[in-house]
């Protein structure tokens, strides 16, 4: 059985169905993949400006909305200067 247990207390990146990208520390989850993130920040990507990080704090994201959860390699992530990254934002899923 697949589990999120290995991600607890790690820095993770979440991608939601609406295209949002959120990074934070996973403090908990449940059977429906609802996830609690602390110190979370949204990363807003655009082609014209560098990545903008918006602090969100303590967040409870419903499992329904989550597309992807990945562990962040802190060392690599720190080494990246987000201000220099220009990228297309992820479009929302359309039904």
């Amino acid at each position: 059985m697949s589990s999120l247990q290995g991600y607890v207390d790690r820095r993770v990146i979440l991608i939601l169905q609406d295209g949002r990208v959120i990074v934070g520390v996973m403090v908990g989850f449940d059977q429906k993949s609802n996830v609690v993130l602390s110190e979370s920040k949204e990363r807003v990507y655009s082609m014209d400006e560098g990545v903008e990080e918006i602090p969100l704090g303590l967040y409870l994201v419903k499992g329904d909305m989550i597309v992807l959860i990945g562990e962040l390699d802190d060392a690599v992530d720190q080494a990246v200067d987000l201000g220099t990254i220009h990228a297309e934002p992820i479009p929302p899923i359309r039904y």
């Binding site: 403090v27 908990g28 449940d30 303590l58 409870l60």
Partner: protein
């Protein structure tokens, strides 16, 4: 930490709820259940575009329509502390007693259920019995 324990601890605290359609609700949590259905009081609602606002005395939100909830940072420590206290209290209350309790409880759980469930609806008795 379970998301629902956090939500339960958020009662009477301010929070922001965004629905899957992008509408947001700012208010104080009155109540919630295990489906994440919630009631808020003193609510400011915004539409998806964020350009129109409504004030509601109270509202009920079906859990399945929620995208995420944003809760106060301080809640995390409050819940962690509460859990630690509950764990310690549990340790204290248990002890010599527990084994006795388990002994009595175990057979009922493992054994065949009451009410004769297994017999009824089992194999038939053949034709015409």
């Amino acid at each position: 930490m379970l998301p629902l324990s956090l939500l339960n601890a958020a009662q009477n605290k301010p929070m922001l709820v965004e629905l899957k359609n992008g509408e947001t609700f700012n208010g104080h949590l009155v109540n919630c259940d295990n489906f994440m259905n919630i009631t808020l009081r003193e609510v400011y609602q915004t539409n998806t575009e964020g350009d129109r606002f409504w004030k509601l005395k109270e509202c009920y939100i079906r859990g399945s329509t929620i995208k995420y909830l944003r809760v106060p940072d301080t809640l995390l420590d409050a819940v962690k502390e509460e859990q630690n206290r509950a764990r310690d209290a549990g340790r204290g209350a248990r002890g010599a007693f527990v084994s006795g309790n388990r002994g009595r409880g175990a057979p009922a759980r493992g054994g065949r259920g009451g009410r004769g469930g297994p017999m009824r609806g089992g194999r038939g008795r053949g034709r015409g019995a």
